[in-house]
Structure formats: structure tokens, C-alpha cells
Symmetry: C2
């Protein structure tokens, strides 16, 4: 499913998503902040539909894209205007940062040509986290940006749609003050390292739109840097709200630099992966000093959130011994191995407050890792998993004491009847800190289709209150995702997140469904394609059965053919019956009992004029076809 | 995703599904009935795993496949042995049965070479429905077959797994008497027309495994008969429990003959489609006589269940006028149009008891059609939909008065928070008659991915109690599914149905998940592939990253690479910690509070010998790689 209408510049996909335009909407606060959105023009005099846009400048025809220079620094001014940061010369890159890459760089990827040598950190004693500002009562430009971005489409709404939000507190309108309050409570985070000013602010929280993350990154076995930058651009084009760089092997530092400088979305990492590489892959040789140095290295590059597996405590490790699939988290197993080798408590747990000191100096958010997540249906919701979860709750409160933003990682493989317990325990244990889950996969038996087994669980846990869903691609458990796999994973999670927004009763969510369904009903094929999550694939599938251009304006589809069409009949029902008051036939409270003879008679009578007008027209079921 | 290891004979796929063997298991009743199943052999001395098998003789190397002759008549003896049927000469095929096909058959498909000219029906006054036998206390061979088939794997189980069945009554063991009782109550059906003796008996009911249906059939716009027979064989190969032939246009009669004579699963149709063709596509020209003649025509061919939209009553039609997508069911809109044109109550509703007379003479099950199902999120759970549902409940009881089997069709487009209401109302209105739903699709915005938007809803409603899920392919709303789309749709619904079985706590469901996860944990790659729903795709995806044959036995995967592997560490944790009693660290009721210093100390102490053994071994994280 390659993207039809995109050109390739320096290996990344640019150009508008078909049928839509990039727009920059001024914040209603009048502060001059302009928020990037995507607007889809419709036919038949329909109002254009605005949709949330994660694609960054790459879909803006007016933007000059040069991945060697990196993206414009949207947030730079906002950060400096606060006057609480100092500039300093970044830590020198060491050979071990790139897997012992020598000065000749043989076997290495090209070094990034435009590294920020001067980087920012909080002045001594200062705290530059969005949570800290929020708790001071300060509304930052980042919060304003988020408010405008999340508000999309709500202005037009008269009434809130129904839904069951399971106790979330989703307002009819998102104000900057609401964003501030949610961040202050720790119920939402805005991950944006002060050294990643290229990113467009976004929020992750139970009372905002459900977000999705896409994992990229090379491994010891495959992939290269150009492909990873392209995957990042490609994933955000289709809707990834954040990206995680899970690179291992060599070139970790340089690959990350290429990705961050060109990413308009927050970038997360698992620092222990790189730390392990620095000690030759030997977990027991890991030390606090190596780990701390890695945190500084990545903080200066601009990583927006760190997955830290500080909840994998020594006493929990043996709880995994009886599992069918033991420990399946890489970070979790690295720390388990370290704990076993030294028969010591995890240094991540013991040094947690020192880690927090680093986080607040750059405004990096915690993504507290679920190192003991279940890797199979048999292991779901077990003692080890929940023991870790309650420790993550304890650590959340410790991070909050220093005003550092936190989200909590969860699930893995969980059968449907055990999903809600995960959400309920997380809310209870972690004080409503945003939940960020992988899937969950609701069965183990479909490798090759695990974007779907996990999309089923993701939609449900998103409905229950999970703030961000970590995507799974069709290659899960089998191999590394290619470009097509990344797109399928992103679109699958986008639809799962949207289904969750609908079920939660998120005010503006249904606007897009209604616009698409109306287009479908009125045979505005192009509008149906353009309003979909993947216009290219929708049109390709249509054309496989009816390639003719005429068919795109035809008043029929290949399922029923030109001869007969159910939609057409409905139009007739609507035309003639709309005048009638359908309530006169059956009041909704009466539908439980069958229609009485009187009602039927009354109905017949009421139908008569409809039917006469109808007979006059003498319509057939044959419809005009353009081919 | 073509099937790698299949040969093509006369255009259909035959040969075993990779890594498995067809077995015929004698019923424990000793009656001599042998039930077809599929057995997957495993490496490493693991017991083979038996799985439910819908593929029929096509996957049996010992079977002689000749689609011109049709399948062996497995049930013929059972039917005749009951002594309540008579043989007679089938109705002559009329030109209108195949769209006014002339004697020269120009424009027609090849006539089926082995039509059953002599067909069966109940002797005067007799009732040959499985429900009738069940209510007489008779356990038929069909019921025995179903019991053995549904019992798969349960013998080996000690304890029932957990789950939440929402009030279903799933027994630890399925006995023939249990099947009889469920059929007698109307809580399950065994669709098997006495003129389709080629079919292998299967049950559709809330207390049995969740089933899936695949729709095939040509339309006025595309497709041909050979492709449809191949799609039927292909769909059942991957797990379709029943097939619906939704053909329209010409050649409907002959296409259906080709499909039924070669189908080992029950075949359903929507007779109104063919009746409409017989009157030139003009709904208002439909008559009871044309419809009745079509029912007889299809009954004699062996259709196992009929979708009858008898719930689309005149008074309900105007209720759809205010909808975003009106009436999207073809059968529903045909009847709505008829009602409008004649301003009369539906003849399907008024002649319902006469239709039932025909059903019981051939043992055809009702699939009461949801002609007013919602076609968009906006229309979900509205007055029209539920008015029809309660009428279907009324008709269910009328069919049961004549001991005729019934299932109820449902959903369409429904957001997650409105799904359960559909199930609850159906159970209440229809006396627990099996629910058979399309999806539901949980959002409208993902054309091209509607197998997934609907798979999400299908897994949930299956969990809540739906007995059979009607698949949706990636081409839904866009075009006609090809062979690959059919496979993706079937596998997606198979995994959704299995996820529902797991969540309901279906006793043997988790056996396959556990076997696959154990194989994954032990790096038995081939076993992981073979235990999956689609071994061919799983292996292809694996080979795209690690093509080397050696990689299939390697103790690593492409996600972590040969250098580091989390599974390996778990093995070490297991080896050394298994001896420890993990309960001594934290009793599960204590995990809500953090570990006390004493507990941590105790843990450390307990860890020491583990760690010493470990240090002696001096293991690294490097693992042997075969390439």
C-alpha cells in the first residue's frame, strides 16, 4: 500500500495527504499561536472537515524540507522567554555511544550534519517541567497549543454526544486553563524536552483524545538510518502521536540524532538499551554511572520521554518463574538479570530520585516501564504484573513530589475479560497518571495478525481510560516492520483510538464518522475516500472492482451493482416519508410490544399519499450508471 | 498471501494445512460416527494439539476431490434411517431461475453436471427439523457429531479456566444430551437441510464455540462461478463455519448448485435476492407466489438457512427517514420499497406461518434478517432497529411453535458503548435464540480496514453472547472481496471468535494459546507457525527479516537479535528461581502495599544461592546463532 500521491525528497514522503490541505489555526486566545491542522474539502456544498494532524511540516507544500538541517524550532522562543534555562556545551560523543565506532566511522551511519552543540538545561535550582509551571498556575504556550489542538471541531457542536467514559471528566470545551489543571494534577502530560524545540505540543491524558505511539528503530539484525527517518515521517503522516526509537546495536546515538532533529512529534526511548550496548551487552556489568551518563546524553539530544523499568524489583523476579512466557520485556529482563547477578535491589529503583533530578532539568517525562508485563494469555493479571504496577504507583508519587511528569506503561497479552481490571488497578495505584499500553493482545494464536488481536484490546482499554496506545504491527513476534507494516499498524491503532473516543463520548469524535457516512449515503465516493484514515488504500480497493473514473461518481457500488441499490430506496423513503411524523406510527416507548392492528391500520393510512406520489413517479430500481 | 503448500486441482485448493494432519475421531458414544478434526504435530516431545476443523475433505490427502461429482453424502444414511422423508422429482429449473438464461445457455455458467434430480422432503404431516427431534427427546447422529466436535481438547483439562460468560451456561463437557437440550430450547441450531447431506454437522449457540460466516457470491458487476466455488473452499480452509451465497444477477441457480454440492459447511442464502431477479429487479412486482416458488427451488437444492426479512414491517419504514444512512440492508430495502409501493404490510410477515411450513419439511433454519440494521454510528440502536428486533422475537416464538430452528441477525455499525445493549435486548426479545451479527463496525472512518473496525466489535459482541459472527473483508463498502480478502476476513473473524471464547471461559479455548506461547518461549519457530491461524503468513513474515533456514531453529528473533534475548534470561530465572517459593517474597494479597525492608532483605537472602550458581556459570547474554 504505497502512498500514491507523494513525492520523495531525500528519502522521506512529503506532500499533502490526498484530498486535504494543511491549515494553521490561530488560537482563540489571540496570543498569535497558530496550530497545525488538516482540512478536508468536500463536494456537494458540504462544509470542510478539520481533523487532528500529526504529520508536521512534511504535508505542508509551503514548508522547505531538508532532513540534513532538521525542522524549524517552533518552541525555541517559548522556552527561552521563560528565562529559567541556561545554554551549555553538550557532552562529547564517546565511541561507546555508537557501539565503539572509531574516528574513521567505518561501519557507522553518516553523522548528523546539524547537531545542536549548545544545549539547554534548567538553571541551578530551577524546574522546567510543564507540571511545575502548571502547579505555579502558569499557562504555557505549550498548554495553549494543546487546548486549541484538542478542541478541534467542538465549536460547531450544539450538544454533547452520548457515551460511557467510565468516570473520565471530558469537558465540552478544552480551555488552556483545563489543560493546565490536568497537567498540574498529573492526569495529563505534555512530553517536550527543552532540547527538542522542533516538536508540536500534544497532551497524553484520559480526558483528551486517545493517542497512539509507533515504535521504530534498527536492531542488531536489520534496518538502517535512512529507513528509520523515513519510517518516522511515514508513521506521523498516518497519525502517530509519538514515536519511540528502540534502536539497538551500533549507531544508536547518531540514528537518534537524525530522528529527533526531524521529528515534529515527541520522541521516547528506553535508555537501558543503549546503556547495555555500552557494556558490551552484559547486563551484570551495568552500573549507575553508565546509566546516568546515558540519560544525560539522551537528555541533551532532546528525548521527550524515557521508559525506565524501575518497578522491576528484586523480590518480584522469582514471581515470574512459573509463567508460561516469563519476562518478555527487554528492559525488564535486563534489570531482572542484573538483580539476579548481584542479588541486589535494582539501581533504577534505588536511584529513582536522582533520575528525577535529571528529568526536571530538561522536562523529560517518565514512562514507567512495565518490565513484568504478561507475554501470553496464561500470564495475564498475575502476581508479578500487579506487584510491579503498585510499585510504579509509589514511584509516580515520588516523581510528582519533584513536579516531574509521569505516564505508566501497561498490558501485553490479556484476554478481554481481564482488561478492565488492568485499567481499574492502574487508576487506583497511580493516582490517574496517564496509562500507556501495548495492545493488549486478546489471544496468542494469530501471529501475522497481531495488529488486529492487539487492536481489539487497544480499543477496549482506550475506552476504559488508557491515554495512549502503543501500536503493534503485523510483524509482531515474527520480524521487524517495514514501511507498509508501519502504516498498517498506525492506521489500525488510529481506528482503535477513534473507536475509544466515540465510546467515551468525546464531544467532537463523531463529526468525522457522520461526514463520511453522509458522503457514503450520497455516493460522494471521493469524499468517502478523503474522509477515511487512509484515502489511498480506500480508492485503490474501490478501483480494483470498478476502475472506471466514472464509477467514482456513479450512484451505485460494486456490492449491489447498477441495477439495484438499497441507498437509493432509502432516499425515496426519506423524500416521501420525511414529511410524515414517524412517531405517529410507534412511539419509542411502545416498541417493546408488537404493533396493534389499529397502529398498523393507521400506518397504512398514513402511507397512502406517500405511495400515491410514489406511483405517479412510477420509479424503478434501475439507476443511472456512468459506465 | 497465497497459500504456499497447496496444489490446485480443478481450481480449488487441496492438501493439508501446513504442519497438520486430518484425523477422524470416533465418537465416545461408540456409535461408529467419526468426526473430522485437524491435528498439529509439535517438536520437542510436546503432545500434538487437536483443533476444530471446518475445511472438509479438501484437506484430507486420502479424499478424492472432484467438484463435478460433489462431496460424499456423509448424512444421507442418517436422514433416510429416520424413515420420515420421501423422495420426489425436483422442480424443473425455469429460465428465470438463472436470469432468463435460454436453452443455448449463452451468457450462462456451465450447468452443474451432477444435480440431485430426486430430492427429499418430509412425508406428509412429518417434521424433519433437528428441533423437532430434540423436543421428542431423540438424540440424532447430527447431535452426536456436534457433541464430539465441540468437546475437542476438553478431555485433557483438569479445571475450568476463568472467564466471564455474561450468564451463558457453558458446561465443562459437551454431551450429546446437552446438544439435544440446547436445540430443544431453541438456544442452539444445527442448520442442515436434508437435501445437503454433504455437510458436516455443526451447532450455532451461545453455549458452544463462537462460529463465523463468510459471504461469497457473484454480483451483477463482477465474479464468476469457478471463482465462487474456489472462494467457498478457500474460506472453509481457513475456518469459515458456514457460507452465505449472496449471488445476484444471472446464473444464481447454477452458481448455488456448484457451491452446495461441494460445500462441507452449511450454506445460507437471502431468497429475496433471487426472487427480485425473477421479477426483473422491480421490488413492487414481487409476489408471494414468486417468493414461495423461490423457497421451494432453494430448499430442494439444499440451502441450510434462509435469511428472511420478515421484521421489516410497514409501520417501521418511516422510522428510517431521519437516519444518516437510512436502510442499508438490501433485503430490508427491497421489502421497504414493496411496502411503500403497495402501502401494505410485508407479505413475509403476513405469510410467515406458511414459510415455516416449508422450512420444517426440509429442516431449513430461519436466519431472521435485520433489514433495518444501522449503517452508520449515528443510526445505532435507534427506534427502527429495535422495533424490528422485537418483531423478530415475536416471529421466533411463532417458528418455535412449529419446531423450526431460528437464529436472529443483528448489528452493523455500533459504537462500543452501545454494543452490549444489542445483546441484552436480543436475549430478552428472542428467548435466547442464537444471535448472528455483522461486526459490528465500531467506527465509520476506516474504509479499507473494516475487517478490523468490525473485528473489534465482533470480538466484544461474541464475548457478550453472540453465537455466530458474519465476517467483513477489507473491501467492505468499496468493492467485491477477492481470494486474499476472503482469507484476511476469515482469519480476522476466527481470531475475534477465539478471543470471545477465551473471555467467556470456554473450557478448552486456551489450550491452543498456551501451546503456541510455550513454543514461542522455547524458540520452536515451526511449532509457533503451525499452531497459528495462518501458518503460511506467519512463516512468510518471519522469513522477510530472517530468511535463513537456520533462523527457524535459532534461539533468538529479529526483534532483539542474536546478541541479547529476554526469553533466554527468563529461562535462567526459571531454572534457578523455580526451586524458590515465590510466595515467600510477597503473598498476592500483600502486593498492594510496597515491599517492607524485611521482605526485601528476606528476598535478597533467598536470592543468594540462585545468584551463586549463576555466577559460577558465568553466563553472558550472548546466544548461539545458526547464521
Amino acid at each position: 500500500m504505497a502512498d500514491i500521491n507523494s513525492q520523495f525528497e531525500i528519502g522521506v514522503t512529503t506532500g499533502p495527504i490526498r484530498g486535504s490541505r494543511k491549515v494553521h489555526v490561530p488560537a482563540r486566545t489571540g496570543s498569535g499561536i497558530r496550530v497545525a491542522m488538516r482540512e478536508i474539502d468536500l463536494e456537494g456544498g458540504e462544509e470542510p472537515v478539520r481533523v487532528y494532524d500529526t504529520s508536521g511540516p512534511y504535508t505542508d507544500p509551503d514548508a522547505v524540507i531538508d532532513i540534513n538541517a532538521g525542522l524549524p524550532q517552533l518552541r525555541r522562543e517559548w522556552i527561552e522567554a521563560r528565562g529559567d534555562v541556561e545554554s551549555y556545551t553538550a557532552r562529547e560523543v564517546k565511541p561507546e555511544d555508537n557501539g565503539q565506532l572509531g574516528p574513521d566511522r567505518s561501519g557507522g551511519v553518516p553523522a548528523y550534519p546539524n547537531v545542536h552543540k549548545q544545549v539547554l538545561r534548567a538553571k541551578p535550582g530551577a524546574n522546567v517541567s510543564q507540571m511545575h509551571y502548571a502547579r505555579q498556575g502558569i499557562i504555557t504556550p505549550e498548554m495553549e497549543y494543546v487546548a486549541e489542538r484538542e478542541n478541534i471541531g467542538r465549536a460547531a457542536l450544539e450538544t454533547a454526544p452520548d457515551g460511557n467514559s467510565w468516570g473520565a471528566a471530558i469537558p465540552q470545551e478544552i480551555t488552556p486553563e483545563f489543560v493546565r489543571d490536568e497537567v498540574a494534577r498529573g492526569r495529563a502530560i505534555i512530553p517536550n524536552n527543552i532540547n527538542h524545540p522542533e516538536s508540536e505540543p500534544m497532551a497524553i491524558g484520559r480526558n483528551f483524545l486517545v493517542k497512539i505511539n509507533a515504535n521504530i528503530g534498527n536492531s542488531a539484525v536489520a534496518s538502517d538510518v535512512a529507513a528509520e527517518v523515513d519510517k518516522m515521517v511515514w508513521a506521523t503522516r498516518w497519525g502517530a502521536d509519538t514515536i519511540m526509537d528502540l534502536s539497538t546495536g551500533r549507531n544508536i546515538h547518531d540514528t537518534r540524532e537524525w530522528i529527533i532533529r526531524n521529528s515534529a512529534v515527541p520522541v521516547g526511548t528506553v535508555p537501558i538499551y543503549q546503556a547495555l550496548e555500552k557494556v558490551g551487552g552484559i547486563a551484570e556489568d551495568l552500573t549507575w554511572e553508565v546509566f546516568r551518563d546515558t540519560l544525560i546524553e539522551q537528555a541533551e539530544q532532546g528525548v521527550d520521554y524515557f521508559t525506565i523499568h524501575a518497578g522491576v524489583r528484586l523480590p518480584y523476579v522469582p514471581m515470574t518463574a512459573k509463567r508460561v512466557t516469563g519476562i518478555v520485556s527487554r528492559g525488564g529482563s535486563i534489570m531482572a538479570k542484573w538483580c539476579l547477578a548481584h542479588h541486589k535491589e535494582s539501581f533504577l529503583y534505588e536511584r529513582f530520585d536522582e533520575i528525577t533530578e535529571i528529568m526536571k532539568a530538561y522536562d523529560i517525562a517518565y514512562s514507567l516501564g512495565d518490565g513484568l508485563r504478561p507475554g501470553s494469555i496464561a500470564d495475564a493479571n498475575d502476581e508479578a504484573q500487579f506487584a510491579e504496577l503498585y510499585t510504579l504507583g509509589e514511584l509516580t508519587k515520588r516523581a510528582w513530589e519533584q513536579d516531574v511528569q509521569v505516564m505508566i506503561e501497561g498490558p501485553g497479552h490479556v484476554p478481554m475479560h481481564k482488561i478492565k481490571e488492568n485499567m481499574d488497578k492502574q487508576l487506583e495505584a497511580c493516582g490517574e497518571a496517564p496509562f500507556y499500553t501495548l495492545g493488549p493482545l486478546v489471544t496468542d494464536i494469530a501471529p501475522g495478525y497481531d495488529h488486529i488481536t492487539s487492536g481489539i484490546g487497544a480499543a477496549q482499554i482506550g475506552w476504559y481510560g488508557t491515554a495512549m496506545l502503543c501500536y503493534v504491527t503485523p510483524k509482531e513476534h515474527l520480524g521487524l516492520p517495514d514501511r507498509d507494516d508501519v502504516k498498517v499498524g498506525v492506521v489500525t491503532y488510529k481506528l482503535a483510538a477513534h473507536a475509544a473516543d466515540l465510546a467515551k463520548g468525546h464531544p467532537a469524535a463523531q463529526v468525522r464518522d457522520d461526514a463520511l457516512s453522509k458522503a457514503r449515503f450520497e455516493f460522494r465516493w471521493r469524499d468517502q475516500f478523503n474522509l477515511s484514515l487512509d484515502p489511498d488504500t480506500a480508492e485503490q480497493y474501490h478501483d480494483q472492482t470498478l476502475p472506471a473514473e466514472g464509477a467514482k461518481t456513479a450512484h451505485f457500488c460494486s456490492m449491489c451493482g447498477p441495477k439495484f441499490c438499497s441507498m437509493k430506496i432509502t432516499q425515496e423513503v426519506r423524500d416521501f416519508a420525511a414529511k410524515q411524523n414517524s412517531d405517529s406510527y410507534l412511539a419509542s416507548e411502545n416498541i417493546k410490544r408488537e404493533t396493534s392492528p389499529q397502529e398498523a391500520e393507521e400506518a397504512e393510512k398514513g402511507m397512502e399519499d406517500m405511495s400515491e406520489v410514489y406511483r405517479e413517479k412510477g420509479e424503478k430500481l434501475y439507476l443511472p450508471s456512468d459506465d
